[in-house]
Amino acid sequence: MSFCPPAHLFIFTGMEAIALATILQYLVYGLQLGSVYALLALGYTMVYGIVGMINTAHGDFLMIGALGTYFIAKLFDSMSIDGTYPMLAVGCIILIATVMTGGIAVGVEAIAYRPLRNKPRMIALITAVGVSMFLTNFPRALPFIGPNPRPFPTLFTPKTFNVLGASITSTQIIMIVLAAVTMLALDRLVAKTKIGAQMRAVSMDKDAASLMGINIDKVISITFFIGGALAAVSGICYASVYPQVEVYMGSWLGNMSFVSAVLGGIGDIRGAMLGGFILGIAQIFATAINSTFGYAVGFIILIVILLVKPAGIMGKVTIEKV
């Protein structure tokens, strides 16, 4: 009888629960998008930190990774049951695609960027624009690829979980966890291994490092390989949640991840991670307010951070000694 709590209390907690569920849902979407940006921003940041150039063609490595996975998965079609692949096949597909993209990245570096290493930075930037155009349009010109969007194969079977009213699929969990693990692994690599020490040395002073006996070409090639591989993983994650791959998918994501890298502090690995997640979450919540605002928020953040703290959130302002 009077054991029932007052009705208005129920309604209040009900509404709160709905609001919490929606916010959690948006947070899930934000983390999903953020992990894509973060993985891609890592490549940007590493190349900038070690070589000193902004590789605007990086978004296209993502596209190559995603498209490559599409075609490699076709090779494994015989193993697929009902559209999904066994775990071993999935592992193989991802490995092949990642290594292939890393290899292409190394090739791009050797052909396009290495000859310009000692030239002014502006030239390398312009070359990057040209590389980006080539990487986008060459696959488009190939008849078996073409400009058509393609459906990405289902690598991870989605199972939906309901957490506090928000639904999160196993694909999203895998994505976010994969991104986090990769970033931690990279952090470890740079901090603790010999090659990591070499990379840090080259980023501090290229000439002094070469005087110390470090093979600059090898270090830079490895950097590009890792960047390309990360871009491929990012592409696979992105395409798993938005399963439409086409040759133009890299440009928008590349721009957004560049903003993330700048936001977090370009040259700093943790900064790239942070920037990526912040931008992803910001975009989702901004879209919830107004869709045009969501589209613009990336650029607004870029302008604001450059005005307020140009070194980025985790970046340190270095004074160049002339």
Binding site: R140, N148, R150, P151, Y242, P243, Q283, S291, Y295
Partner: protein, 385 residues
């Protein structure tokens, strides 16, 4: 350095001089001049799929003509000049300039998108060259001038067809998600809202084809629980939208505009495509004589695909031009224009067509198609609102 610079400049001048000479007037074969028809379609870029189908549709007519056309008692060689608009407004305007000034075409068919047509139509109007858009459905297109025609229905008509279908199916409430950066999407949404007898619960929008994440907007719409979801958007966006809509919990009927008529939409959307209905100009399943002839000829040229609305409307646009050339009082652009405006009862794969001389829009019906579980479209009904 100076010497190299001088040689380079000289080489540049020579190249420019040679190219100017090469751009001279086209050769006349004896006294019979080649009639040229321009085809302006997106062969690259985001809209390349539509462009591919469009040119394949024009191929059917090319095969039919066999390179020559009979006007009166004289036979002329006929040539189709295809140019890539890349789906962008500036490029389309350039293509129109080239086709009109350099190639001296007698008429232009294409492009297929409203926004590109709106950008290029003033050029055709000023040069007094007749231009027919195959699939530009926005009303403003033919309002540019009396030299601009279209082969398809207009957005208000399409919106009315979609609204009539929803009313007919008994859907009392609707939600809409549209692209606020595209004239086609906005026009279709407006037309639907105007003609729909039920209640529009909520309208969400997104800014352009770059955006691939619609989860936020669709989650909001799912909370409204409508009977039908209208997605009046472009084919590169629809696949992901349909998939994300189902994941967000929208299990109602989805209705799209004519752009859903591309197989890639079904491929990307996957199993979510089942039951999605859309407005179409043409059904490959039509039992009409002229339609079957067209479908058979198309499949013979391109065995791996079935013609869709893009292909069929391009075929119609070019066929209209050819008919107009054959029935023109004078064999020039003005004559072709008048003949186009006077088309009455022309037999086309989508039915008998009459051109309205006042608005330069064709008078024809619209049909509803629906995707089944295998991603194949099935004819549902013809709607004449």
């Amino acid at each position: 350095m100076k010497k190299i610079l001088r040689i380079l400049c000289l080489a540049l001048c020579v190249i420019m001089a040679v190219s100017v000479c090469a751009c001279g007037p086209s050769e006349k074969k004896g006294s019979v001049e080649t009639i040229k028809i321009g085809l302006a379609f997106p062969m690259s870029g985001m809209a390349a799929m539509a462009g591919k189908y469009s040119t394949h549709g024009a191929d059917v007519l090319k095969e039919e003509l066999g390179g020559k056309i009979t006007v009166g008692d004289k036979e002329y060689p006929i040539e189709f000049v295809v140019m890539d608009t890349e789906g962008s407004e500036e490029k389309t305007a350039n293509v129109y300039q080239k086709l009109i000034e350099e190639e001296k075409v007698i008429a232009i068919a294409g492009p297929d998108s409203s926004k590109c047509m709106l950008a290029a139509a003033p050029i055709a109007q000023n040069a007094k060259c007749p231009a027919i858009t195959s699939f530009g459905t926005n009303t403003a297109v033919t309002e540019v001038g009396d030299y601009i025609f279209r082969a398809c229905f207009i957005d208000p008509f399409q919106g009315a067809v979609a609204a009539a279908y929803c009313d007919g199916q008994g859907h009392k409430t609707a939600c809409i998600m549209f692209n606020n950066a595209d004239a086609y999407s906005v026009g279709l949404k407006d037309a639907f809202v105007e003609n729909y007898n039920g209640e529009v619960l909520a309208i969400e929008e997104y800014s352009g084809s770059d955006v691939k994440d619609y989860n936020v907007q669709l989650t909001k719409l799912a909370a409204q629980n409508p009977d039908v979801l209208l997605l009046p958007n472009l084919n590169v966006e629809l696949g992901l939208q349909i998939q994300q809509a189902r994941t967000a919990g929208l299990n109602c009927q989805i209705v799209c505009g004519d752009s859903a008529d591309t197989p890639d939409v079904a491929k990307v959307a996957g199993p979510a495509i089942e039951g999605v209905a859309y407005v179409s100009a043409f059904s490959a399943e039509s039992t009409d004589e002229a339609a079957k002839k067209f479908v058979d000829a198309y499949v013979e040229l391109h065995p791996d695909e079935l013609p869709n609305s893009n292909a069929e409307l391009t075929y119609e646009a070019v066929k209209m031009i050819v008919w107009a050339i054959q029935n023109a009082k004078t064999l020039d652009r003005a004559g072709v224009r008048d003949a186009l405006a006077a088309i009455d009862g022309l037999d086309l794969p989508s039915g008998k067509m009459t051109m309205d001389p006042e608005t330069r829009n064709p008078i024809k019906g619209g049909i509803i198609m629906q995707y089944d579980a295998d991603g194949i479209t099935r004819y549902v009904s013809t709607v004449n609102p």
